[in-house]
Symmetry: C2
Subunit: 334 residues, 2 copies
DNA sequence: TTGTACGCGTTATCAT
DNA sequence: ATGATAACGCGTACAA
């Protein structure tokens, strides 16, 4: 509260503020005796340097921000976890901003931008014009789960290859009629749908339009109720939560998964392993995503020039039982 | 980046910095003509007031922090969501700190404390001595999911009453042999176990010792494998994730839920509704918890004296199917 | 209505 | 080894 200042410490220790600063930061020569006097004064006064003062003098916040759409569901939490951990290791605090269905996001983001040395932004949370404005202002920025915006760096995980592998696998299972659940934005998901459609095309199958829905179990359930009426062989879902919802919808309709309809997810959240049937999905390194973003941002803050480059983290196709019998066509050999 | 300062704006507009400040904040009389000149200069220079300068002058950060143990699982994410939303509404940024199994937490928390006007701390994340030190320093603090620490305010949700109601319900179902899964700390969970034990005692049943385990599905699974071997009628779990794990363990052991063994959770996370069998649990208003903490903290920051008081939010017993047949003894009438 | 000048709490440069 | 002092960027009494 009524924190003491470096001046009070200096007076009590009988030295100048410069000496106090040096003694505390070890940034210059200080005699042992003086150091001890300062130490005692600091202790007595419970002195803690004001962050504002330090930052103003240092010209940096030692903090960085992250903007994400939401925090319900495991996805963003896991990524945030990895981000915060690395940021903390690098001695930087983390400010968060959830955009949800909130009003006044641009203003809030700009405010956030004034409080940090750099910003990580999830794909699809901010309009491109705003991204440009921020990047142009010279703020170090890293995009997450989408390709780089001009003036930024980006990290995402591999989508197209995994989507193709998944699709090929499903076709090998004998599935021919596909349904796609979980709308398409311009980030990760659209890359997946594009690759799925392309792969289906190679096999003479016309890809259906993805059915948009919130990336939640409930969203998947609602979408599933509609989708399943047309009797697809398999429902490829934008993420695991949607897939879990589709499975519930299938049950509701008296369909057995995977016997009557196969279902696949994306992300490999914990529930994917535990659901029945266990979910065939694509594993994304969620924490690593956040961690990589934190490291990239740190490099930018340290002075690296933004390369408009997208770093792509590897994903793994995880075959479980929700996609159908494995005996038809075994997955490709190593 | 190379942001312009209020001095440059003042020079370009041909006025003093005081006028610029007044014009921008509407904090004093400014002629329309001057205001327009300032507006133009601001626009041309893309001027944005430095947060550091503003905070230093205003003597406040307009930001508050929150300390939680983890972010995996739905619990903390939901609470954080409610917290951040209200904080943003109040014009305050949010800094997060996850303690996980991290080293150097006390130092990091103290650093965090220098960057905020107030702090919300989840129960069991920080040692009491540190809480005392922070509170004594005059930092406004709100405890979450535990009772108030001296010098703070607290919000938690009701535990004992719900635990009693749950226990009574289970006894009415004919369950006599209880098992408790999910270790006891000194926050929410211990209050629940205490109430369960007391209620069981009233019915002549000796409460077992809770089996400690991480609050995760995997933790519940592991604990369940051990617990279930003694053949309890019901496993009361510390939270829904643990309960989901116990159900998996039961399956693994060839036990049917709830026919062979009943299982209950706590929190009413989304997966509780969707699991099979659907989870009997206690609904906690997670977002409200975070929102209430944000509001309380705001009052403290505004000058309210900490009352060492704990605000208790209502919970609801949610009867689904995992606790056993309802026909044996119907739940108490309204 | 507008401007001057001081305070906010540091760090760091330059003397000494 | 130590001290005086200039930044850093802003808000705001106080004066005009």
């Amino acid at each position: 509260m009524s924190d003491s200042t470096i001046y009070e410490v200096a007076r009590l220790a009988g030295v100048s503020i410069a000496t106090v600063s040096r003694a505390l930061r070890g940034t210059g020569p200080v005699s042992a005796a003086t150091r001890e006097k300062v130490r005692r004064a600091v202790e007595e006064l419970r002195f803690t340097p004001s962050r504002l003062g330090v930052s103003l003098a240092e010209g940096r916040h030692a903090a960085n921000g992250i903007v994400f759409p939401d925090l319900s569901g495991p996805y963003f939490g896991e990524v945030l976890l990895g981000y915060e951990e690395v940021a903390a290791d690098l001695g930087r605090s983390v400010l968060i901003l959830s955009t949800r269905d909130r009003a006044g996001v641009p203003e809030t983001v700009k405010d956030l931008a004034t409080r940090v040395d750099g910003l990580v932004v999830f794909g699809q949370t901010l309009p491109d014009a705003l991204l440009t404005e921020l990047a142009d202002s010279g703020l170090p920025m890293v995009m997450l789960a989408r390709d780089a915006h001009p003036g930024t760096e980006a990290v995402r995980s591999e989508n197209a290859g995994a989507a193709e592998a998944l699709t090929v696998h499903l076709i090998a299972h004998g599935h021919r009629t596909f349904a796609l659940a979980g709308g398409h934005d311009e980030g990760d998901v659209s890359q997946r749908w594009t690759a799925v459609a392309r792969t289906l095309g190679h096999h003479g199958i016309t890809a259906p339009r993805p059915v948009e829905c919130p990336y939640t179990v409930d969203g998947g359930y609602e979408a599933g109720l509609g989708l399943l009426k047309s009797g697809p062989d398999v429902v490829v879902c934008a993420d695991d939560q949607v897939a879990l919802g589709v499975i519930l919808a299938a049950e509701e309709l008296g369909l057995r998964v995977p016997d009557d309809v196969a279902v696949t997810g994306w992300d490999d959240i914990m529930a994917a392993r535990h659901s029945r049937p266990a979910l065939t999905t694509v594993r994304q390194p969620l924490r690593e995503l956040g961690a990589a973003a934190a490291r990239l941002l740190d490099e930018l803050i340290a002075g690296a020039e933004p390369s408009d480059t997208t770093r792509v983290l590897a994903t793994d196709l995880v075959i479980r039982s929700s996609c159908g019998a494995h005996q038809v066509h075994p997955p490709e050999e190593p």
